[in-house]
């Protein structure tokens, strides 16, 4: 018995010893492996995340919606690319959204989302994002999480220094990356210098409905315009653009565009130019670009070609444009929440350069210029410099702010995030990224009011971070807790496409406005059938329109005869459901589309061109109900010259 007792005690102490070993690893310094890190990103089943993160899908052309801190993916919002999941760009209603002056472009490269603001604070109404390849700006409505407008940007190429909004969303701005002949013309490439120009486009946003309209384009020298940021607070009314290739090279830029010690940040007084334009300034220039708008009530988009744009020559608006010398091909152009500091990250520099808005105004006031470029005054570097963060890392790219006086800069080459203090420029902390971080994002971190709890790093290299999937591995983001003095890596999570930039916002600013259904009574689609009694099939020559409805668990009509080989059959399907989260889908054998995903109260259309005689089934493609498998119908297709009468039915045979 005694022995047994001893044994028990030994066992117990062993237990205690090893349990405490376990605890140590839990409380201790094991970063993301500790339960404290796990707890910080754990959102229990049924619970909601604290933030939305809208993460650009890069070359996928889409915008992904994640929750933070969990890193859970909620939705991929199709923007610049067709999406087989949502029928976006495949159904007839959304095809016009992808129209351009080059025709239907079903795929683009999505870069920099930015959330609309009121008084410099995120208002959660819209997300804007730029299409980089065939220059466009899109607007996503945050009540429906759908793309509702896309405007093409003429005289632009590589729409990269985009799409950033001013303090009151007066403008969303789109700057060209590549200089091109403006207007385009057939000239020798070596005529680049002087003949190629870069345009910066100011797109007016309607305060009521968010409608976009290009107010003016600024015709700038033929540099590359990389990133941009509006002034905030005290610098509201100005816009800043980083430039590189001020050498104006047109070949081997990796060497030839790295020759100048300093390129420029272009400071644009847009309020001054706006006043100039409002007083009749600028010249209308013939051009051609598409403006595509989706109407929530017709559930359809329309595309309009615009034929002219207002062009402003900066040399004709004195005092509106200045160049701030900034070392070595600056990429990020970031303004702190107070609007005083303009941070330029020279990507080939080891330092981060910070300009002072106050000093800039003083230098302009004193007319102390170092020279000019194409008639635009260049300020003295020393006159505008607020300070520099000395050798914080290699390859600085982008900076965001926590609203507590700290800045967070991503470093691509040295693969890290560095936290530093505004004003003293001292480095406070550094954390490695895995690997080679591009941009980073603090929710509201580019506005006047950041929510400085997390920073999201978006990495360019993933390598060994996840289970390997062949040569192509997932794109990746990393979440860091920045609520303490030191950053703490909490979470890795995969992303859709290359995440160039993201915009984050407290969920509470969006959640209450999220739409649940579309009201059937408000449906103004030209081919809507609001009841089963309204359903019909109409022939116009070889075009057949089917006005169809869906409700759990049948189509109306579900038997159709009189369709012929060679017809073009439009299925206009209205979802009669008025319950949250009861979409229906539809497709038919041989159709180019395999789904429509129709939300309650919505009408969507796909086209079917029957090529073979027979009786062909169609079915619901979204699991809708217990009798989803019964949700089906038939269409009889007769030969081209047949005279089978056009008839349809539900619940009874066609006579």
């Amino acid at each position: 018995m005694k022995n047994l007792l001893k044994l028990t005690i030994v066992t117990l102490s062993v237990l205690v010893a090893f349990t405490s070993c376990n605890n140590q690893s839990t409380n201790g310094k094991s970063g993301a492996l500790t339960s404290s890190a796990a707890e910080k990103v754990y959102v229990a089943p049924g619970e909601h995340d604290e933030f939305y993160a809208f993460v650009s899908g890069g070359f996928s052309g889409q915008l992904a919606v994640y929750g933070l801190p969990s890193g859970r993916l909620f939705k991929v919002i199709p923007v610049f690319s067709q999406d087989a999941e949502k029928a976006y760009g495949y159904n007839e209603e959304t095809k016009p959204l992808l129209n351009t002056s080059y025709g239907f472009i079903p795929w683009d490269d999505a870069h920099h989302p930015d959330i609309s603001q009121t008084n410099g604070v995120l208002d959660g109404r819209y997300v804007f994002i730029n299409g980089n390849n065939t220059p466009r700006i899109a607007k996503v409505d945050l009540t429906t999480f759908e793309t509702t407008e896309i405007i093409e940007i003429p005289n632009s190429a590589g729409n990269h220094s985009s799409s950033y909004v001013t303090d009151n969303t007066e403008y969303v701005v789109a700057g060209t990356r590549f200089a091109v002949p403006v207007p385009q013309q057939d000239i020798a490439i070596k005529e680049y210098k002087g003949k190629f120009k870069g345009t910066l486009s100011f797109i007016k946003v309607d305060p009521e409905d968010g409608g976009m309209d290009i107010k003016f384009q600024l015709l700038m020298p033929g540099f590359d315009y990389d990133k941009a940021h509006p002034g905030r607070g005290k610098s509201d009314g100005w816009f800043f653009f980083t430039t590189y290739n001020t050498e104006e090279a047109n070949t081997l830029l990796e060497v030839n565009a790295s020759q100048n010690d300093k390129d420029f940040i272009a400071a644009i007084n847009w309020k001054k130019i706006e006043a100039y334009v409002n007083n009749g300034g600028g010249a209308m220039m013939p051009t051609n670009y598409a403006h595509n708008v989706y109407d929530e009530y017709t559930h359809s988009a329309t595309s309009t070609m615009k034929k002219e744009v207002l062009m402003v020559d900066p040399s004709e608006v004195p005092g509106a444009v200045y160049f701030l010398p900034t070392p070595k091909s600056p990429h990020g152009c970031d303004v702190d929440p107070t609007g005083e500091y303009i941070v330029g990250s020279g990507k080939l520099s080891a330092n981060v350069t910070v300009h002072s808005f106050t000093k800039m105004l003083a230098a302009i006031e004193n007319e102390k210029f170092a020279g000019e470029a194409y008639g635009i005054p260049i300020l003295n570097f020393e006159d505008v410099l607020a300070g520099a963060v000395e050798q914080p890392g290699l390859g600085p790219l982008h900076t965001e702010f926590d609203g507590e006086g700290n800045a967070y800069t991503s470093f691509f080459i040295s693969s890290e995030i560095v936290k530093w203090k505004l004003g003293t420029w001292e480095v406070l902390d550094r954390q490695p990224s895995f690997y080679s971080i591009g941009h980073l994002m603090i929710p509201g971190g580019n506005s006047q009011k950041p929510f400085g709890k997390y920073v999201l790093g978006m990495n360019k290299i993933t390598k060994d971070r996840y289970l390997p999937t062949g040569p192509e591995v997932t794109q990746s983001a990393q979440l860091y807790d920045i609520s303490g003095d030191k950053m703490e890596l909490l979470l890795d999570f995969p992303t859709v496409g290359e995440p160039h930039y993201a915009a984050g916002i407290p969920a509470d600013l969006i959640k209450p406005n999220s739409k649940k259904i579309f009201k059937l009574e408000d449906n103004n689609h030209p081919y809507v059938a609001k009841t089963e009694a309204d359903t019909k099939v109409v022939r116009e020559g070889n075009i057949v329109h089917i006005y169809m409805t869906t409700i759990r668990s049948h189509f109306a009509p579900d038997n159709i005869e009189g369709v012929r080989v060679g017809d073009k059959v439009y299925f206009h399907v209205t979802n009669l459901e008025q319950d949250y989260d009861v979409p229906h889908g539809v497709s038919i054998i041989g159709a180019n589309t395999s789904e429509l995903l129709i939300m309650p109260g919505q009408t969507e259309t796909f086209v079917w061109e029957p090529k073979q005689v027979g009786v062909w089934p169609f079915y619901c493609t979204d699991f809708c109900s217990a009798l989803h498998q019964e949700m089906q119908g038939y269409i009889r297709v007769s030969p081209t010259n047949a005279n089978t009468p056009l008839k349809w039915s539900l619940g009874e045979d066609i006579d």
Partner: protein, 192 residues
Amino acid sequence: MQTFKKSMLLLLTIVAFSACKNETKDASTTSTATQADETTTERFGQAFINDDEGTPNCLQIAIGSPDHKTLVAAVQAAQVENALVNVGPLTVFAPTDAAFAALPEGTVENLVKPENKATLADILKYHVTPGNLSTSILTKLPKLGQANNQYVKVEVVDGKPVIGGANIIASVKAGNGIVHVIDKVLLPPTKE
């Protein structure tokens, strides 16, 4: 017999918890990667991923070279490995062991001391240029902006580029750029 059962249980318990112990060890090792402490941080990252399929990167080339033992030791002492393995592209000027040996006696020994880590890192970064610069491109450039934020002068002597007074003995293409073997250590100009 009861006692035997108990001891088996005890053994099992020990085994179970030993397993836990190992796990913990692994965990805390991995965790150093997320530490702010620089000395441990730099031991992790792309430099430490095993990859024998790709073209060797600038660091792997230096490590594999019999003439760059001092350079490799210096890179390790300064803990700048990750800067040499990034996707780059990078141009690395790699002084030979002989070049290091030509420095005044005691220089290298002094530089690799922990307290001189920052100075050593600065010198090493002065040997790195962002960009993939072949010898023929180098002859066209008057100066190079180095990773420590200073410039090094390029002269052309007999049609060949001379970098801050150093001759290029050989050039090796790397997976993430190019390594030029040079016969002299480049010392950064004194900062104001």
